[in-house]
């Protein structure tokens, strides 16, 4: 018996030694030796294979946007300039475009980037048979509707509006005017794909091959994604490091501790608990500036007493908006990681104006708020409870509590927050239109254009489940301006029309802007070149030590 006990303890001991032994080998990370010129950055595990047309969340977007280069690229301020495109020429009413490519572009395996690399890829993404999440971005190209009929499709049908003229020229015919097209094509979903993609899309998604400033070295799922410089790339981006290694986290908190401890170079967000101290922490460098994400809450256009377009509804919407002490909430709850809004887009959107008529409706004014509410009550008395729903898994509780308090105290009405545990549950309720009150709505743009905010969220065509107009807002004047902007001869002309359309929104308040999310994050002290771009992301290519 004694021997048996001894055996047990021997096993325990040898296990301990084995582990200690593992440590000796495993401890030295193979990436350490060239770490001087490689930047480590925060990421989450991509939800999808790294196929551009199937990537619609930041986990996949961070690496993918470095691996692929589109027709145009955006600088940190969101200004578009030609990348693979030599020129994108539109006709007078923006219904047809001729795209010429710069010669000599290659994918990182050496195969050339041709017109077909674009047209075939776009058709693939648009084709519903291939179940790509970004397919709706191609909806303005002629032939899109034909590629949505699930039953008869094989998956390789092409968009009728795309014609290859030669290897470096192709034409795009739109089904309706689309003045934003030359900007939209900078979005990841419009990236070119090499021929090898179509042989095995799934395998490709695991080992994507692009034409961007970086190429994939390895993707160790749920652990890290290594990118190294692509020497065949010849576009606008001039990388200042030799590679970017994305380390995968489930919790921002552990990434933040890693930056503090010198284990991670850059994190593009800050855990809520640390928003107070991240700018003064001596171990870190931090950035915090107005960004492109706008946080709002939508009030459904048919909510009793708040009906859009009626005098009572408009008065109440304005009263609610003016009853929110945004400045105080930003300072106290967000610790300054937000910015007071003045429109429905963001300060990072080209064409942004901070002098739109009606921007006063987004400023706290208790006296006016009370007055407006009383006027509305004179039309029809509202004794209903006013609620705002939000999902708690995104850390919104403190903000919504503060906001509800502000509304309740200013207007003296029965208002309360209606928290829902998960984003999924919340989205489900929004889609079913089952929320009888206001609800959280944030918007992160896909490409830097006012159109991406305004059309998607407030045009009638995007209402009733056809887009992201979740409040089903409908205003003919606004719709007409959207159409005009789409047919505008230039981006500047379109932006002027978008400003006009925003003044309608500032009066009607289909949604109530709360704040612009600041681009904020932290990096290790020794890192140089830290700037945030129009997507609130660090410009990875410019980081170096």
């Amino acid at each position: 018996m004694k021997r048996r006990l001894l055996a047990v303890s021997a096993v325990l001991c040898s296990m301990g030694m084995l582990l200690a032994g593992c440590g000796a080998n495993g401890g030295s990370d193979s990436g350490q030796k060239d770490s001087k010129s490689v930047i480590t950055a925060f990421d989450t595990e991509p939800q999808n294979p790294l196929i551009p047309g199937n990537t619609n969340e930041s986990g996949g977007n961070r690496p993918d946007s470095l691996i692929f280069a589109g027709l145009v690229s955006f600088d940190a301020k969101g200004k578009a300039s030609n990348e693979v495109a030599q020129s994108i020429e539109g006709n007078a009413n923006s219904t047809q475009y001729t795209v010429k490519l710069k010669p000599g572009w290659k994918f990182s395996d050496g195969t050339p980037v041709t017109s077909k690399s674009f047209t075939k890829a776009w058709s693939y993404v648009a084709n519903v048979k291939n179940a790509q999440k970004c397919s709706s971005f191609f909806s303005t190209i002629q032939g899109y509707d034909d590629l949505q009929k699930v039953g008869s499709l094989k998956g390789d049908e092409q968009l009728a509006g795309l014609k290859d003229v030669d290897d470096t020229t192709f034409t795009v015919t739109m089904s309706k005017p689309d003045a934003t097209f030359p900007i939209k094509v900078g979005y990841l979903a419009f990236a070119p794909l090499p021929e090898s993609f179509y042989k095995n899309p799934k395998a490709f998604g695991n080992a994507p091959l692009g034409n961007g400033p970086y190429k994939l070295e390895s993707w160790n799922h749920n652990t890290e994604i290594r990118l190294v410089r692509n020497n065949l790339y010849k576009g606008n981006v001039k990388p200042k490091n030799d590679g970017v290694t994305f380390k995968i986290y489930t919790k921002v908190d552990s990434a933040y501790a890693d930056v503090q401890g010198g284990n991670l170079d850059v994190l593009d967000t800050v855990p809520t608990a640390d928003t107070k101290s991240f700018q003064t922490d001596a171990n870190l460098q931090a950035y915090n500036q107005a960004g492109s994400v706008i946080q709002m809450f939508t009030i459904p256009s048919n909510l009793p007493h708040f009906v859009s377009g009626t005098e009572e509804g408009t008065l109440r919407r304005q009263a609610i908006s003016k009853a929110i002490d945004r400045k105080g909430i930003i300072k106290k709850v967000l610790n300054g990681t937000g910015t007071q809004p003045v429109d429905f887009t963001s300060p990072k959107t080209p064409g942004f104006s901070k002098d739109l008529k009606g921007k006063d409706n987004l400023v706290y004014n208790a006296a006016q708020a009370k007055e407006l509410w009383a006027k509305a009550n004179a039309i029809s008395k509202d004794n209903d409870k006013f609620t705002i729903s939000y999902n708690t898994d995104g850390g919104n509780k403190a903000i919504y509590d503060a906001m509800i308090n502000s509304i309740k105290n200013t207007l003296g009405i029965d208002a309360s927050a209606d928290p829902m545990p998960t984003f999924q549950e919340f989205r489900n309720a929004v889609d079913k239109r089952s929320i009888k009150g206001g609800f959280r709505s944030g918007w992160q743009p896909d490409y830097p254009s006012a159109e991406n905010y305004l059309f998607q969220e407030y045009d009638s065509a995007a209402a009733h489940g056809n887009g992201s107009n979740d409040g089903d807002y409908s205003n003919q004047k606004f719709d007409a301006l959207m159409d005009q902007a789409y047919a505008a001869p230039s981006t500047d002309a379109a932006n002027a029309i978008y400003s006009q359309s925003q003044e309608i929104l500032l009066n009607d308040l289909p949604a109530i802007p709360m704040y612009y999310d600041n681009a904020h994050g932290v990096a290790s002290k020794k890192l140089k070149g830290l700037v945030a771009d129009w997507e609130n992301m660090p410009v990875y290519s410019q980081l170096h030590k």
Binding site: K2, R4, L5, L12, G16, L19, A20, G21, C22, G23, A24, G26, G27, S28, D29, Q47, N48, P49, N56, E57, V128, A131, Q132, K133, S135, S136, Q148, V150, K202, N206, N220, H221, N222, T223, K247, Y249, T250, K251, D253, S254, A255, A257, D258, G261, G262, N263, T422, F423, Q424, R427, N428, D431, G442, W443, Q444, D446, Q456, G465, N466, S468
Partner: protein, 308 residues
């Protein structure tokens, strides 16, 4: 013994079936639609969503989904994640990391738990007994995520004694802090368990008899007191190995250890039922096997059980 083993193995079948059904039902009952969530705030192309649902059998009724999962699982095909990775290879990648972590925690809690427990039990009422009792009480009452964050902040960030997080391909030092945090609560329980067993056994008649026979104090304690005292401790340790594997979720997310807990957390967030159920099945098997080993160890420790 052989017959006993066979019976125990056959018993595992209903346990595994029941657990998978239950877990599948729980994941299925999670509110919201994982496919819609994939689109975030962006417009959902209904046809695309339908395609994805069909691909993952999400359009079928619950029981069909479950039976399909079972059918595939029998041929060792656990399906793919939404990111297109085979579930089995994801688990294969994460599992060794968690085993390493759990074994380290296990060794830590077993060695320190038993040693401190014995000291405490033999020297009941002395000052170091009190210290051990207070420390173990503290460890039991403070939740793991608190100890985890505190350890991370002080040992990792502030004093830079140990790596802040484990990260890719963790070695012994990388896993030391998460393992200690993970094992600390169980260690406290083991201390208390061992202490009370030792202190009550030492007053038993057979111990007095042994002493009266003229046995040395050392062999009385090792051969009589310890062997009897360790039976409940071994039971606890055996079950705890399973609990460590599953309980790794909190310490793995805090220390960014890319193991099973990390994977489970992510999969629950994404509503990946295949992944969650596969992991739980695996953990169930580990639990059952650990219990089996405990029962075998009983026999080794206590002849009465062996001959019964």
């Amino acid at each position: 013994m052989g017959k006993y083993l066979l019976r125990r193995i056959l018993q595992m079948i209903p346990v595994v079936l029941g657990t998978t059904l239950l877990v599948y039902a729980l994941v299925f009952a999670l509110p919201g639609d994982p496919v819609k969530a994939m689109f975030g705030d962006k417009p959902v192309n209904a046809a695309v969503a339908a395609q994805i649902r069909a691909e993952y059998n999400l359009d079928k009724p619950f029981i069909i989904q479950y039976l399909l999962f079972l059918k595939n699982a029998l041929t060792l095909n656990f399906g793919n994640t939404f990111a297109g990775q085979p579930v089995i290879s994801e688990i294969g990648r994460a599992f060794p990391v968690t085993i390493k972590l759990a074994l380290m925690a296990f060794v830590f809690e077993a060695v320190f738990g038993v040693v401190f427990g014995i000291i405490s039990g033999l020297k009941k009422g002395k000052w170091y007994d009190s210290v051990i009792l207070i420390v173990s009480l503290l460890l039991i009452s403070v939740p793991t995520f608190v100890t985890g964050f505190l350890a991370q902040y002080f040992l990792g960030v502030k004093w830079r004694l140990l790596p802040v997080t484990a990260g890719n391909d963790p070695g012994f030092l990388d896993l030391l802090m998460p393992a200690v945090v993970l094992g600390s609560v169980s260690m406290a329980y083991i201390i208390r368990l061992t202490r009370s067993e030792v202190s009550s056994n030492i007053a038993e008649d057979y111990v007095r008899t042994a002493r009266a026979k003229g046995m040395s104090n050392r062999s009385v304690i090792v051969r009589h007191v310890l062997r009897n005292s360790l039976i409940p401790v071994v039971t606890y340790l055996g079950q705890d190995l399973g609990a460590l594997m599953s309980g790794a979720m909190i310490s793995e997310t805090i220390f960014n250890v890319h193991g099973i807990g990390f994977l489970t957390y992510q999969s629950i967030l994404k509503g990946e039922s295949n992944m969650v159920v596969s992991i739980v099945t695996l953990l169930t098997l580990i639990f059952v096997v650990c219990n089996l080993i405990v029962d075998m160890l009983y026999a080794a420790l206590d002849p009465r059980i062996r001959y019964a």
